[in-house]
């Protein structure tokens, strides 16, 4: 069944709501300033930024957004990740993720011909300390993980009250006012992307920062990524770099055999990654 919820309202149930409203006011202020100062700012900051800002200004009022006009996807180029953990910290700050739980995390793979070592100390929140392994290492890399926002996702399938749902623009969200906290979706997610929030006792997960993307912004993790490892795009935009990469490059998905149709695509994914 298609959810019949107002996307703005859906975003509103996220814990980040309060903080976001403050940010929105700030953004509105900036947007107005941009409009008022006009050409001077364009001259100073470059046309690209101004165009981006104008787009935001339109969406910031919450009137222009139509979820049928978008279909989002996420792209991770694992060859670029340096394991700095900025994304994990940004996510935690943006969404008030409780300690010990993760909406996104980074895994470190240290691989040799004999053995493989994988770790993710505190989800990579504080970066990665140096490590000694007992075998000859031949390659090593980081893999950022996030909810895959699967098209055929088992987590919304198993929700007994329909509190977990997929929006028309492709995000998997949880309605915190409907969730009964049974934890079935946590069990059903093959990627370990969900958890029961220790304070609200309801399911919680990555929302692709739905409160941001519906205002034309990128998710926090994408915004702060210093290497461009994490990218977020719109499949309904033919010139979107993420769409172009998924269309033309060799992309992988995680646990494809489970046929959940993840919407988080990977470049340069190693066989060791599950």
């Amino acid at each position: 069944m298609e959810p019949k919820r107002d996307p703005a309202q859906s975003a509103g149930v996220e814990p980040a709501q309060a903080a976001e409203q403050g940010a929105a006011t700030r953004r509105e202020f900036l947007a107005t300033t941009l409009k008022l100062s006009g050409g001077a700012v364009v001259f100073l900051m470059g046309a690209g930024v101004a165009a981006d800002g104008a787009g935001r200004a339109g969406d910031a009022k919450g009137e222009a957004y139509n979820w049928e006009e978008h279909l989002y996807a996420y792209l991770v180029d694992t060859s670029k990740c340096i394991g700095c953990g900025s994304c994990v910290r940004a996510c935690k700050a943006e969404n008030q993720v409780p300690d010990g739980f993760y909406r996104t995390w980074i895994e470190r793979y240290v691989v040799g011909m004999e053995d493989t070592h994988v770790d993710s100390p505190e989800g990579g929140l504080n970066g990665f300390p140096p490590i000694q392994v007992g075998f000859v290492t031949t390659k090593s890399f980081f893999v950022p993980k996030i909810c895959n926002h699967c098209r055929k996702t088992p987590c919304t399938q198993v929700c007994p009250v329909g509190a977990s749902y997929r929006t028309k623009d492709g995000a998997i969200l949880v309605d915190g006012d409907r969730c009964i906290g049974c934890g079935y979706c946590v069990q059903a997610c093959p990627y370990g992307s969900r958890f029961l929030h220790p304070a609200t006792h309801t399911a919680s997960k990555c929302t692709w920062c739905y409160h941001r993307i519906t205002k034309g912004l990128k998710p926090a993790c994408v915004t702060v990524c210093p290497t461009g490892t994490r990218q977020f795009g719109d499949l309904k935009d033919e010139n979107d770099p993420v769409r172009l990469a998924i269309e033309h490059d060799r992309v992988s998905i995680l646990q494809g055999h489970l046929l959940t149709e993840p919407q988080c695509y990977y470049l340069e994914l190693d066989k060791e990654v599950r």
């Binding site: 007994p160 409907r178 969730c179 049974c182 069990q187 997610c189 992307s193």
Partner: protein
Amino acid sequence: MPEISGFAFPNDVHVTWSLMIVMYPYITGFVAGSFIVTSLYHLFGRQEFKPVARLAMATSFAFLLIASLPLQLHLGQPQRGPSVMITPHFTSAMAGFGILYSFYLVILVLEVWFVWRQEIIERAKRSRGAVRAFYAVLALGTYDQSPEAIEIDHRAIKILAGIGLPAACMLHGYVGFIFGAIKANPWWSTPLMPVIFLLSAAVSGIALLVVLYQVFARLGRRPVEAGAMSALARWLWFFLILTITLELLELIVMAYERSESWLIISELISTRLEFSYVTLQMIVGGLIPIILLAVVVLMNRYLHEKVRNTLSTVAAVLCLMQVFSMRWNIVIGGQLLSKSLRGLRSPYEPEMFGREGVLMAIALMIAPFVILWAFDRILGIEEAEPEGGEGSPAPGGAAEGVRAA
């Protein structure tokens, strides 16, 4: 924080489904298992189960009344629990619970009413005042005890048992389905799961009746009927063999296929679940009672009654433990293994107090017996009047015995 061996996804270190979710299938197992026993008499006409048929039905009823409690206690937002029934999301296996549970409850309440209708009428006639009014309400105002009415009762019981048996099997097979249909978890995801759950429900139900029957007989100072005990032992043996076989088959297939998850599952069994799976579920709760029951069944005529009853009871108690450890190993074991298939978390220790604690679990296990006692006080579990000239106890005998205890 729990210790992790290997690598677990960072969110995979929490045991989301706690002790209450272990109790839930354990309790519904008794519901289904004892209903199977009562159906063997009411539906399939196995006369040897007559002495335990009523006890079995009352047991099923008592456990059913609390079957939804562990789920309710487990919910993060218990006040929203009813929305599973009011606004179910039908693609969810869990949404079926409300429907199956209420359906079975209706069938069982109706069947209990028909089976105990004579007692209700008798008691209504015997008593006066408020008590009489109470039984009159229970009798729904009809005092018809004519042979035709009794014949209709019998037919209704048969039809209700005919609907109730599949309903009970669905109610419990469905619990297995909740786990078996989770493709994310290789320790759960097998079509065998509902079947294993159903068979082990039969084991736990029959085993409980072996024990309960003797306790009730002793409390009511009635003889334990040899026929009923041998029949219970025989069926317990049969269902235990089937259960253990399927439980082993599931593992053997996984091991032989060298499935991608076998590496981590073999580690799970040989480290974290070594005691609860290998020792309790397979050896102490599986192999030993199979041997004990084999002695009871195969050497029945050489055994003194006391020896047979003792052997059966010991086997039954071990079976009860086997089924509990099986529930534990599935529910908790499945959460010790990370979906990364690279790591295990340290064993889960339930809290003592609190909503999902050990004390609550003990209270949940005691509650059905309190209900059973109340049932006996109100309706009398055993028949008040002998049917077919058997040596039945005096009216209220069992009740007095329980009171004395």
